[in-house]
Amino acid sequence: MHDNISMIQILLLAFYGAFAIYDGLNTGVGFKGSAITGLFAGLIMGDVKTGLMIGGTLQLMSLGIGSYGGASVPDYNTATIISTAFAVMNHAGLETAIGLAIPISLLCVNFDVLARFANTFLQHKAEAFAEKKDFKKVELMNLLGIVPWSLSRFLPIFISLSLGSNFVSAALNAAPDWLMGGLKVAGGVLPALGIAILLKYLPVKTHFAFVLIGFCLTAYGKVPMIGVSLIALAIGLIIVRMMDMIKENRPVVAVADNNGLIGADEDE
């Protein structure tokens, strides 16, 4: 009944989702990033290119949408896994996969909230164990927190993929053009939200010039992202160096000679 996907693949994808949220919360290596998730989901499904395309697209849509201070945000990571699997199974195009991913990522927010709720119970247990001086159990409660977190990603992936592709293709076939076309447009528009969140987060009013520089580099200069990052770093280092100079009451011109820019800001 599961055309083109084996139970092992479903389990691997579901475990990857659980591992990704663990990494996102704790070690922070980056397995929760949609592009990286797309790479691994693609590997599991035997179609790396599709995984990278879907992951890359969703990554750009979700840049800036990070969970700060424990807010639940749309789960583009779980959506990447599910829609990559469906895209490979159904030979669906990129646009269909993205159209599928947006509602999935919004639905999955609820699982995130549930996990955070479930762990409140563990906190209470830990406090009770502390009272009884059973400190090993206090430690265990923190470790058990992994279970709700993992389930919050494992279950949506496992269930939706187990339902099989017929379910999703039926849903997709039923979706009218006005909706799918609209979702396609939304795929282009939604990254604006991530960018706007980032702009809200950083002091854009005092540092607006940098936004302009970045914009011009790509809009007019077509500079690739690595190049933009390096230019940005260079400008940042120059400015910090200049601020140091001003603080030390030395003329800024002195930047030009001796010992270069990067090595110079070690210590004063």
């Binding site: 663990y22 704790n26 290596v29 980056g30 990033g33 592009a35 790479l39 790396v48 990278l52 395309m53 992951g55 697209t57 990554q59 800036g64 990070g66 700060y68 201070g69 424990g70 945000v73 749309p74 955070r116 709720f117 479930a118 762990n119 409140t120 563990l122 906190q123 406090e127 009272e131 400190f135 206090v138 430690e139 923190n142 992994i146 076309g181 609209g182 979702l183 447009v185 528009v189 939604l190 604006a192 939200l193 960018i195 969140i197 980032l198 702009l199 987060y201 607006f208 940098f210 520089i213 970045g214 914009f215 790509t218 690739p224 992202m225 990052s229 230019i231 940042g236 400015i239 601020m243």
Partner: protein, 265 residues
């Protein structure tokens, strides 16, 4: 008292924070459970008296929320202060935790959340869209290296102890400044490349057809529509009644409407 803290104790505490700082995250005390878990081996070493240990464990279970990477500073300072002051230092430590977690979280989210994520993940995404996994691999390698930054931080915290507040503010301010400038430059660069919006609208006047996108907007400025959409979204986020999830729904709705009016597409 035979409770001197050695390198291996610091390493153990660091690795506990690295691997399990947020596993117990909950709405009530947030990272409180994780913080207590991180400190337990250290506290067992310091407090041989079970009643004292109990009080300290209960206290460390209280509310705590920070950027997990930056927590290392607080944890290190906590170890130094508690090693010297013992049970008497309980209040100092609570004050240190509550006083530093907010500012450090802000800095950590700027550096390791916003800037780190924007730079590495946008590179990963671009290379992914060209069918190459190299950007992803670069991001993973950078992420693995990042894990070890925390070990430096916990040692700085331990070395500085109670003086941490003064030490950190000066140095971190500089790093934050660079991260902010770099972050904003990359964000500016993302607008024309990441946001995709083109109008399909065409004026027809007799024989003359003017395509709004190619003949008008593109001549004014490249990516003018993405800029407008970002500006409008930024404005929406400033409204008290709108959070990011609501803005997503608004953008979805607008996309569907504008597509069906043949304005965007």
């Amino acid at each position: 008292m035979n409770n001197s803290i050695q390198k291996k104790d610091i390493r153990k505490t660091w690795s506990r924070n690295l691997f399990f700082s947020t596993t117990g995250w909950n709405y009530e005390k947030m990272m409180g459970l994780g913080y207590c878990y991180t400190m337990l081996p250290f506290m067992r070493k310091i407090y041989k008296d079970q009643d004292q240990l109990k009080e300290r464990v209960k206290s460390q279970l209280q509310f705590f929320n920070c950027n997990a990477m930056m927590s290392n500073f607080i944890i290190g300072a906590n170890m130094a202060i508690e090693e010297k002051g013992g049970f008497e230092s309980a209040e100092t430590i609570s004050a240190l935790k509550t006083g530093l977690m907010g500012p450090l979280a802000g800095v950590g989210d700027t550096i390791f959340g916003v800037t780190w994520g924007t730079v590495f993940y946008s590179i990963a995404a671009y290379m992914a869209l060209q069918g190459s996994p190299i950007g992803c691999i670069i991001a993973i390698i950078a992420g693995v290296i990042k894990m070890f930054f925390g070990y430096g931080f916990i040692n700085i915290g331990y070395r500085e102890g109670a003086k941490l507040v003064d030490t950190v503010s000066g140095k971190i301010q500089k790093v934050t400044e660079v991260a902010t400038m770099a972050g904003l430059t990359v964000i500016g660069a993302l607008i024309p490349t990441v946001v995709g919006a083109k109008t399909a609208f065409t004026f027809t006047q007799g024989d003359i057809q003017i395509a709004l996108q190619a003949d008008v907007l593109d001549k004014i400025m490249p990516a003018i529509l993405p800029v407008c959409i970002v500006a409008a979204t930024y404005w929406m986020l400033g409204k008290k009644s709108l959070n990011s999830t609501r803005v997503i729904f608004i953008l979805l709705l607008l996309s569907v409407i504008l597509y069906n009016l043949h304005i965007l597409g």
